[in-house]
């Protein structure tokens, strides 16, 4: 069996903590840029132009309908081969890219829901004042949409924390990658439970804050 969990933790906790930092970093990058890109996709999705709309629908369906792991393999092995220009990116950046793209598809659906949840009268009022459609979207609709979807976005961040475990497959230093590191030291089972425990604590704590956020937002209405 080898050493116990506590012993392994005491010996190697800097490695786990470094992994956790990596995990939170990847999740934050994926959700931040995924949100920016997701806003853009959501607006395309809401376009009345059929072609633009179709592009967004295909984008979202492909990225949500295929496993992230497959997307990562494609980003990691296929993209540098198919588009040599993109060799400017490091291997890690390809993995991050696939996380961002994947996240953008999920976030765009959340944002689209947020935008359509804003009363149509808001758009009508803004446009009747002579506000351009761009200003109406950025100044009137988006701020209200974002407030409506903050809890969903936060939950997406929590989900993304778990998704980033796949990045360890490509030797990106995150929590799951610590298993590979410690397996080299013949620690086969202990890291798995420590890693699972860390994920659980982080997601439970963050979920608790999302609940608080939801209450605060509900109170401000």
């Amino acid at each position: 069996m080898g050493p116990g969990l506590i012993e392994v933790w005491m010996l190697y906790y800097p490695i786990f903590l470094k992994g956790l930092v990596g995990t939170l970093k990847y999740a934050a990058i994926a959700v931040f840029f995924g949100t920016l890109l997701g806003c853009f996709i959501a607006i395309l999705h809401l376009s009345k132009n059929k072609i633009i709309n179709a592009i967004a629908v295909v984008y979202v369906n492909v990225l949500r309908g295929t496993p992230l792991l497959v997307q990562m393999y494609i980003a990691y092995f296929f993209l540098p081969m198919a588009f040599p220009v993109m060799n400017a990116l490091s291997k890690e950046q390809y993995v991050i890219l696939s996380l961002i793209l994947n996240s953008s598809a999920y976030v765009s659906e959340i944002i689209r829901g947020g935008i359509t949840s804003v009363d149509k009268g808001q758009t009508e009022a803004a446009r009747s004042l002579g506000m351009s459609s761009k200003n109406c979207m950025m100044q009137i609709i988006m701020p209200q949409a974002v407030k409506n979807i903050l809890p969903s976005l936060a939950n997406e961040y929590i989900a993304m924390i778990k998704e980033t475990s796949l990045a360890g497959t490509f030797m990106c230093y995150e929590l799951m990658y610590t298993r590979t590191l410690l397996a080299n030291k013949f620690l086969m089972w202990q890291p798995l439970f420590i890693i699972a425990g860390i994920y659980l604590v982080v997601t439970l704590v963050l979920s608790f804050f999302v609940k608080l956020l939801e209450k605060r937002l509900a109170a401000s209405d």
Partner: protein
């Protein structure tokens, strides 16, 4: 009285379908500068749709809308520029809940007309004083009553210095005790010579404030005239029937 008859809005053979439903069946109408026109009629008759076609919130299926001589329907004109001169007040206020009362008023003049913050806020404060909301300037709309929200919506539209104001049932969503305050603001506005088109169910108000009343039913202007003509001596049987129900 309107002596010089300068047309500000002209509507020619205006048609609007929602799917198979014909809501407007060919309306011809002229709104003159300085005129106060009330539109009455049963729900579903096309009053609101007609009003919403005047600033292209509804895109007509057929016909023409000319605002100050510019055709709005054919898609070649800069709609935003014209809409800045056509104020609109909605049944459900549609104030911006995420912006303060003051910002509700200043945002569009600042964004679209490049007005400075100081200038826009000074003007907004004057407008708020006009409707008795100056002490609410830094509140958010959720703190306002329905009547206060509607008065805010009115001055928000006025901040764009419109040439005409459209009112779409401005008091229909208000508690009864709030109606008077809003109607007074509209009355004051008509006294300043502002051109107003008002869709309303407040027959008493329509009678006192209007130069002309249109009765719209079944997608057509069935009858029009001065308030006295229309309310006291309606000619069309449909008008008579409608008025017998509401008066």
């Amino acid at each position: 009285m309107i002596n010089e008859k300068e047309v500000i809005i002209e509507v020619v053979d205006l048609k609007k379908n929602f799917g198979d439903l014909e809501v407007l069946k060919g309306i011809n109408e002229k709104i003159y500068k300085g005129e106060v026109v009330s539109i009455i009629g049963a729900s579903g008759g096309g009053k609101s749709t007609f009003l919403r076609c005047l600033n292209m919130l509804e895109v007509p299926t057929g016909g023409h809308v000319y605002f100050e001589g510019n055709e709005l329907v054919d898609g070649t004109t800069d709609l935003d520029a014209h809409r800045q001169k056509i104020g609109m007040v909605f049944q459900h206020f549609n104030v911006f809940p995420h912006l303060t009362v003051l910002r509700n008023i200043t945002i569009t003049p600042m964004l679209e007309k490049g007005m400075s913050k100081e200038e826009a806020e000074k003007e907004a404060m004057d407008l708020l004083k006009m409707v008795g909301l100056e002490d609410k300037a830094n509140e958010y709309p959720r703190k306002l009553s329905g009547g206060q929200k509607q008065r805010l919506a009115i001055v928000r539209a006025l901040a764009m210095h419109p040439d005409v104001m459209l009112f779409d049932e401005p008091t229909s969503a208000l508690d009864p005790e709030m109606v008077k305050g809003v109607l007074e603001v509209i009355k004051d506005l008509t006294d300043t010579g502002m051109t107003c088109v008002i869709v309303t169910h407040e027959m008493g108000f329509a009678k006192t404030v209007s130069d002309r009343v249109l009765f719209i039913d079944d997608g057509l202007v069935m009858e029009e005239g001065t308030p006295e003509e229309l309310f006291d001596h309606p000619q069309n049987p449909r008008t008579q029937e409608f008025l017998s129900k509401v008066l």
